[in-house]
Symmetry: C3
Subunit: 406 residues, 3 copies
């Protein structure tokens, strides 16, 4: 998003990617005009439509933050930075698609710290021989990610271990354990906010200041910012509903598995706006900012969005656990491992960007080849979901919806 | 333990926690007076009694060390720092309770590097924005911990892998493998002592000097130190016998599993004295010392106490292996991973303390929800212990004691 | 290999270990004279013969590199540094012994970063209290190793996860996945070469310059270097054929498993020449060089030799996957973990050398106790190889050769 000259009104605030906004009316048409109803096309069009809308939500949030002042503003940014992904996930959760939800959580986490960060380091590294960033800030962000990874590993460890006991594994125990861990992660996120926004703000200030300096638009009035935010949010909500409603038919026709769609496709869509910002910042040698965007976004997903989804699932009456599949756990753990190594010394180069992207490609290859989980395959046969096993958690609900819950 | 003015005799040497010593006679009463026999109460009272006794053992050891001179003294400290835990474990081992032994080994390791270190970093971090410590010393301690974690992981890898072979897994192979690994760990500990007490003493001297400076009591005479040490050790031995003898009944009534009691409760009791010292040192910005206490104690458990227990088990005629359950291995590996990250840059802050405590809470949640292993459940039915499986090692002995061996 | 005075001709270029060259004619005799045919002896003698031959290949390559100039020369070194191991592995692959191939890949990786590097750090640390090396170069090499470890872990994760799906696991999917990952690793190796030989050459120059300075022989003419290289390569090819042909009978008589022979013995033989060079460099305080030899060799095995072997297996008509057994994966992952920790701060001491050697000994203990995999045991009974399982991949080919494929 290049700097723009200071203009008033609405005409000067459109960005390069915004032509994709044309996809919005097209998606409404595809959805409501029966003659044109085509799930695969609807899936693709709504996916494209979400990209600029997420960008607008982000910009509106930033303008509101600038108005709200440093502390509250950063808090706004930190909480609603992933609002688009949260909306998509809540929509899927309300339909009981916990499998897609977890897959997209995984995808957002690894997408941010591998794809976004890797592309940033590679882009910046092509221009600068060596880029540096605040080592302490990077290290403690990476440690928070490790903590999150631990929180996402333990529920499956519990399932594996208790499967072998006569008392066995019960869904209720798994849900209670997950809820307790979600609370711990959420509390840790609050402490993280206190640390990064208040007590040790200086470690991250480089990022903050640079971020605000990039906004060369005329500052939006509160009315303008709130209006745009509400409009964008509403449209994203509609797009999410269309997207989630068409995912089943679309992926079958495209020959992709539910897991691949969740981990790779949904995550890339949701992160596209941040992706371009992070790469731009790296090209301007503002590495603290690109690292902050990428790792900060992953942190928010793992320590804020995931717990919130667990809490929300209880409100929806269909408790979701934090039990992920083995490939998802391996993906998150290995990604966090690599990122911790790369960010630990406060400097980066183009090869480290290549390494992050290589890991992402390897994980994408894994998710591409994984066959469809049983409970999804049997959906069309209206069979009961397959019995729960450690790596293929069955329905966590009593729903008999045509789309099986996981 | 605040500094006390220099007084002679015995009157000035009591510390705040010492009122718990009243629990000692109470425990004797509960144990031997039939009318008052109450296992749950006995378990709690002896647990409380061990706390100040362990503190006295530590202080006596430190005074003897001061008398013995730098090298031999540090060696004394390094070897007998965990004498209380060693005694409790030997007591449990003699009764064939290898499950409790391994659980308490796990609990001591993770308790020191997560609970003690986390509380220290948090306490110190509330007072100081940033605390530093010798990076080289911290890193090589963390690497030794990783080596120990590897030594505790491999026996279970062996079991998993050989289960799938026709030749299969045999208890004898597991015991030989464990004994060989125990020897390697023990030898590594000796090299660690040579490194930290002789060839690279300077890296750790900060800790040593500070430790001795804290002792503002009048130096105890050798007679006084040895007497107190012997008395405290004898009492700890009795307390251990009561504790271990009442653990079964007590935990059933408290509704806790054997694993939870071993990993969380026994470990917290045994480490309480060190815990308060480490927190005090952090509050005085002597971070090298608190790190040295916490990580050094974990190292001693993993590289000295664990091998010694393996050797001792052969003397007792009931060889114990180093095969831990999956949750125990996950707990140790993940703890060592987090500590390595946090201590790698030579500085810490309050959030890193929170992160360590969060991991501890998550692991405690895991051990809280884990159901009772089969061999313990079936004890009261006098059934044969469940057949050995990789994550639930059955009896390693031929003992037909009412308390099943693991 | 001590520096030698500048002499012309051939007489001055023999090195201490070269008396082992006597093993070459002996091995020919043992192989072709029926009366003397003894597989165990042949195995041992050819093993000893390879050691000096690999050294000669290395020296010839270095002289050619010096002639070819900095860039192309380093490229030569980087590609053919492990030519001996590549030849042995190709020989085994052509006979369908994919189990031995993978075991020796594992052994080369862990042998270089644990045994060679550990011995170097220990030797250097006995002489120097503290040795330093370029931290950035060491860290990015370690990260490349982590990437390689991830590439070797994912195929087994795939197998474990897809086993539980109704669609199940198919050898074809595993082969396609492995081929795709091999391509990614190979491309990453090319980028690594661009980084270490061109764009960021300076980080590694210490190693380069020092390496060339050590060659105090008169520079060999191109004719001489090429002649020696061809002769040594031919002899290594013959030795490999004898070695691989006799491994079955020899190990049975020596009572060793195929895995132990592959992981420990074959790897030690192949790395012996580099081993002595690395230790020598450490004793001369040229730590960048010893680290470069050890870690660089592991990198080459994991990111170049392994993918090349996968490609070659397709040419041989017997596709090999990158699916390793659990112990092999654990060994590689844990080794890379420890090396990443130790090399991350740019300095080392004797204890870190001891730690690396300890991990190697623990892993050797593991591989020593592991029982023979099913498919090897049943070979003599001419039974069909055991059905494929995640940790014991069965035959990947349709070959009915007497030596079972894995």
């Amino acid at each position: 998003m290049s700097a723009q000259t200071n203009t008033s009104g609405w005409s000067g605030i459109f960005r390069p990617l915004d032509w994709l906004l044309l996809a919005v009316p097209v998606s409404f048409a595809l959805r409501y005009v029966s003659a044109w109803r085509n799930d695969t096309l609807l899936f693709i069009i709504t996916g494209l439509a979400i990209i600029p809308l997420a960008g607008w939500m982000g910009r509106a949030t930033e303008h509101l933050s600038a108005r709200a002042g440093q502390g509250l503003g950063s808090l706004l940014n930190a909480t609603f930075g992933n609002a688009a992904e949260l909306i998509i996930a809540l929509m899927a959760l309300s339909k009981g698609l916990t499998g897609v939800v977890k897959a997209s959580l995984t995808g957002s986490i690894i997408g941010n710290i591998l794809l976004v960060l890797g592309a940033s380091m590679l882009a910046g590294g092509m221009r600068f021989n060596r880029q540096t960033f605040n080592q302490t800030a990077a290290r403690i962000s990476a440690t928070s990610l490790s903590l999150a990874a631990i929180g996402l590993i333990i529920p499956t460890v519990f399932h594996l271990a208790s499967d072998r006991q006569p008392g066995g594994w019960t869904p209720q125990a798994e849900q209670s354990l997950s809820l307790a861990i979600a609370v711990v992660l959420f509390i840790t996120y609050i402490f993280w906010l206190i640390f990064s926004l208040f007590t040790h703000k200086k470690l991250f200030t480089g990022a903050e200041a640079a971020g605000h300096a990039e906004e060369k638009d005329a500052a939006w009035s509160v009315t303008k910012a709130v209006t745009i935010l509400l409009m964008a949010t509403t449209l994203v909500a509609f797009m999410s509903e269309f997207l989630v409603g068409s995912v089943e038919a679309a992926r079958e026709q495209l020959g992709l598995t539910e897991v691949f769609v969740g981990v790779i496709i949904v995550a890339v869509i949701g992160n596209a706006a941040e992706h371009s910002t992070a790469v731009m910042m790296a090209l301007k040698n503002k590495t603290d900012l690109s690292l902050g965007i990428a790792i900060g976004s992953s942190l928010q997903i793992a320590l804020f969005v995931a717990p919130v989804l667990v809490f929300a699932s209880y409100l929806f009456g269909q408790p979701m656990t934090l039990e992920f599949t083995l490939p998802e756990i391996a993906a998150v753990a290995l990604s966090v491992w690599i990122v911790t190594e790369i960010s630990g010394d406060g400097e980066c180069n183009w090869l480290e960007g290549v390494q992050l992207l290589s890991v992402y490609v390897i994980l994408a290859i894994l998710f591409f080849f994984l066959p469809e989980p049983a409970h999804v395959q049997s959906a069309s046969d209206s069979l009961a979901p397959a019995a729960g096993s450690a790596f293929n958690p069955a329905s966590e609900t009593n729903s008999t919806a045509p789309i099986p819950a996981r």
